[in-house]
């Protein structure tokens, strides 16, 4: 492990990048998931079809392919657009971080679409009817009955989606994001100890996964407690 000394700084900043990508992709993933679920649940057939296509495409294609396509595709599209204005431009580089963040958010968002949709439909009609029978308004029913119940149903799969996101950040190293994986590659170049360097990466991801798992477990306990109180 002596070889790692001197690389801790780089691993630390690499981890920060993992966190940054995780944070932004989480926001986008929730957004895509909610939009997708809303579209699938809407009465608009076109919206349903588009959301259906979205989930089929992003759940049926390897993650790495989506990342590559978004990265190289956006680069050439932007270059082509720029060349319309200034023919001298050779190539516009899209930051891998943004292409990657959007790519993994789109992928995991397609799974989240089903989670949110399922949670919405999973709320027992009986609870809703009971709330209405007690004279609660639509809005009150939504806030006090539907949202907590959806939260309870969606939390366990949502925890898995967060784990997918954190693990998928590793794939963005393929297009050159300088996260921990990328640090390891550089470190191997000078130290010649690939096993050590990749194990460090593995440990960093394992730590992140553990933190996410533990927080989801904590939230589930909290949800279960309020659920019991409501009963």
């Amino acid at each position: 492990m002596d070889a790692v000394t001197g690389w801790w700084d780089d691993y630390f900043w690499g981890s920060m990048i993992v966190l940054q990508v995780f944070f932004f992709s989480l926001l986008l993933m929730v957004l895509f998931g909610l939009i997708g679920a809303a579209a699938k649940l809407s009465d608009n057939r076109l919206a349903q079809k588009i959301a259906g296509a979205y989930t089929v495409i992003f759940r049926g294609t390897p993650e790495i392919l989506v990342i590559l396509l978004l990265y190289f595709g956006s680069a050439i599209t932007l270059t082509a657009i720029a060349q319309m204005f200034d023919p001298d431009i050779k190539f516009i580089d899209v930051p891998p971080m943004w292409a990657g963040t959007i790519a993994i958010a789109l992928i995991v968002g397609s799974y989240a679409t089903e989670t949110f949709r399922g949670a919405f439909l999973g709320v027992k009609p009986g609870s809703i009817e009971a709330a209405r029978a007690l004279g609660m308004s639509n809005l009150q029913t939504f806030i006090y009955i539907r949202i907590p119940e959806m939260w309870r149903l969606a939390l366990p799969p949502f925890g898995n989606h967060m784990l997918s996101l954190i693990k998928d950040t590793a794939l963005i190293s393929i297009i050159g994001l300088n996260e921990t994986f990328f640090v390891a590659k550089q470190a191997i170049g000078t130290t010649g100890e690939p096993f050590t360097m990749y194990i460090v990466v593995g440990c960093i991801y394992l730590a992140f996964s553990t933190i996410i798992t533990l927080s989801v477990m904590g939230m589930e306990k909290f949800g279960a407690r309020t659920g019991e109180g409501a009963r």
């Binding site: 495409i57 390897p62 590559l68 595709g73 950040t169 794939l171 994986f181 194990i199 593995g202 394992l206």
Partner: protein, 229 residues
Amino acid sequence: MSFDLSLITESIPKMLAGIGITFQLMFLSAVLGLILAVILLLMRISGKWYLSWPAQVHIYIFRGTPILVQIFIIYYGLPQFEFIRDSVFWPILREPFGCAVLALTLNTGAYVSEILRGGVLGVDRGVLEAGSALGLSARQKFIYLTTPIATRLALPAYSNDFISLMKATSLASTITLLDMTGIARTIVAQTFAPYEVFISLAIIYMILTWIIQKSFGRIEKYLSRYVNP
């Protein structure tokens, strides 16, 4: 920027030349992974800590880290040690194909083991009690009651994992293997036409996903014949 149709018709057959590798990776890892999953499951439910702990550690590590890291540790990492290079496994670990199968197997084994465990835990306790009351041994209950019922319960989740495995085979391209994705990346590097090539490839993968879903749907329907006859 234009969409080059001739490039698509040219590159699809080239990429399909790699479908054999994709299939080999997928089926080998699926079979070996299922065997591993069953072993891990039996270890977990054995009730003996020295069996259940190692299984849980394996599952925790392989589900908690990116598969890409696992592939790299095995392919690039292991040769760091001389005893590995001298071992009988070296002919397998030297080849990217062997490393990819090993990584995918260890990975999918961890996930599938959890899926199977979910199925086993989902078996109605009353049914097992009825088995006990009739005098069936623990082993007979596991074989004749738990296994068939748990298989049906686990199948939908298993089919999703199978699709994940199929998609994960594309990561073999990162360790120089020329599966469909590996070939596509080579073509893009030469032609710099990511849209044409990657979208065509995405469609091929989507068709595979669809075939897997349909096949598992058939099996599911057969296994569920006693639920909705």
